[in-house]
Amino acid sequence: MDFNFTQDENEFRQEIKDWLSENLSQRISNKVKKFQRLDKNDYEEFMKALSAKGWLAVNWPEEHGGTGWSNTQKHIFEEEIVKAGAPRIVPFGLNMLGPVLMEFGNEEQKKYYLPRILNCDDWWAQGYSEPGSGSDLASLKTKAIDNGDHYIVNGQKTWTTLGQFANKIFCLVKTDTDCKPQNGISFLLIDIDSPGIEVRPIITLDGEHEVNEVWLKDVKVSKENLLGEENKGWTYAKYLLTHERTGIAGVPNSKSAINHLKVIARKTYKNGKPLIQDPLFSSQIAELEIDLKAMEIFNLRAISSAESGKAPVMESSLLKIKGSIIRQKTSDLLRKAIGPQALPYISEQFDEGWNQETIGPEYAGPLAKQYFIYRKISIYGGSNEIQKNIVAKSEFRM
């Protein structure tokens, strides 16, 4: 056992830090730290800077313009960009579609799409979930009818994250209904500005617009845009979902959230003393911190076993569950820490450049909102219950 990063890894970390301090703009990191709304340009500015440096496609092999980094390096990179207050790297093209294209796409598709993802020319959205198909994804209804050299697609996709910024969407569609649901699914690459597509906002419980519905009405999609083989889409979809996800626990995010919580608990007073000295409250923070530290090691163990070639499928599911519990618990304590200051909701506070006086401290504004929106973490990406099913199926063999 050795808990230390190597000299090279420490130098690597420093290189990332130095680069971020030069290339991540203060304007953007301030917005991220204040939980302000990011627009398309904010995301793209950062991603284009990474792309120019050759650091955008951290999960890609070098032959496709990726970094070729080890899992440990990826982990260090993720930690540093969260610490620096960078916007998240939009994963749909890079981490979801990219690996599927490399594995199952034809040469033309690879040659056309991969560089466009890498150069931020395309913004991809994910067209998986439907109103009637959440956890039971294979039951999806969006239909693609064969019409010679193209398909005619009809249906509705939902929970399309940042779809309002996208120009492309990869969709799971039904191409055969006379078989087991899993065997009749195909994987299509679609232009969002095709006639017949409409993207409508879904406002989530925090009052924000991040996810969308995508309606498809008689949309013409050339057969050139079929990925892999017809009716094999389920295999590709699963490949996408089980593709190496060492960052799934969200350790860096929880770490910075707990640090934030401790800062707030030192500034907030109860019975004339800092809240962090209150035995009841501090015990809850401490327990969370212990759990997070253990999960960080658990995560590193998974990364290190992935390094030696063992795909951490079971670990990914366990880490997703524990990671979501810890992040939700942290947001719960953040909300509790500020007491009645959690009540005011001034939506304009989350717009760039808003500089009026806040009610209570500035950090209080987003905390209740964050608590509510973070309920999503145990729902998305395969709900915690689905993760448990996956583990039971693969590990218990019952």
Binding site: A286, V391, A392
Partner: protein, 372 residues
Amino acid sequence: MHFNLSEERKMLKESCDRLLNDHYTQYKNHHEVSRSETGFNKKFWKECSEIGMLSALISPNFNGLGGTGEDIMIVFELIGKHLVVEPFLSSGILSITSLTNSKDIETSVLDEISSASKIYAFGHSEVDTRYDETYIKTKANYKNDAVFLTGQKSFVLNGDFADKLICTARFSGNDFDQNGFGIYEIDKTHCDIRSYNTIDGYRAAELKFSETPAKELCKNSDAYNALLETLYAGAFALSAESIGAMQVCFNMTLEYLKTREQFGKPIGSFQALQHRMVDVMIEIEQAKSAVMLAAGTYKADKDTKYKNISAAKNLVGRAGKLVAEECIQLHGGIAMTWEYNLHNYAKRLVMIDHLMGDSDHHLEKFKLYSNY
């Protein structure tokens, strides 16, 4: 960074595992051993010593072959796996740590321990002092060049059959002071001993002494430092032990879910039970991770070391209780019987939280060492 054991340690682990397995499968359960006259098997203790399980707990500075966090973790995980009642904690970790942190200790004393020729026990808790580190009421009375102890030590593991007892006792100040106490060695022939078995099948004793002649090992700040080192060494060893026992509970339960049928199918096919098993699995991985971190920082500065051990002991306390309760529930009625071995593991898991500071105690200590 990596989390693998070196080849040497893998070999240590395998040979110890084999020895413990061969020995312990001879018994129906560990109660059989701990109810014997001595409370453990002397011949087997000697065998453990011969394959190096005791010198694995002692650093090369004191003629041992190990003593790192990793060594202790390996040995104690196996102790948890086989519910070993031999005095690895008392004559092993606790006595070794208190002795090696004392002044001018001779290596020959540790050789006696590692060769199993002498058994030591460590007495610190008193009947009503709970887990407090420095609440010591036993008195040390210095007369001329000699010192005599008067008082009582409770829950002394293997205290009945030890040759020597190491005890804390106070010579000045208030009951809670960090100063004014020492660590002493006394001969068991001078004590009044009441021996008993514990709920989880181990052996302990109440020791009473009155003006009993003692030998000073250290006092004042030296004693305080040695005591903390000892208590934390014990907490760490128990945390590792807990991991071994948790894994057995989990495996037994998984096996049972696959074979026990109700409503015409294995009960493990029911989602309600599967999901609970995954929750148990997550907490075992968490606990393991915390113990690994504590092992990796066992030789670090004291604040880091104690912080990580307290984190591990707290997490192991919570996880151990969850594992014990869930594994009993998932088994159902069979787990309530003496006959079925699960209860022994469940009891050990819960009782580990009653030794060397429970999860609440260590949560407070974690806060202390994290500067809350």
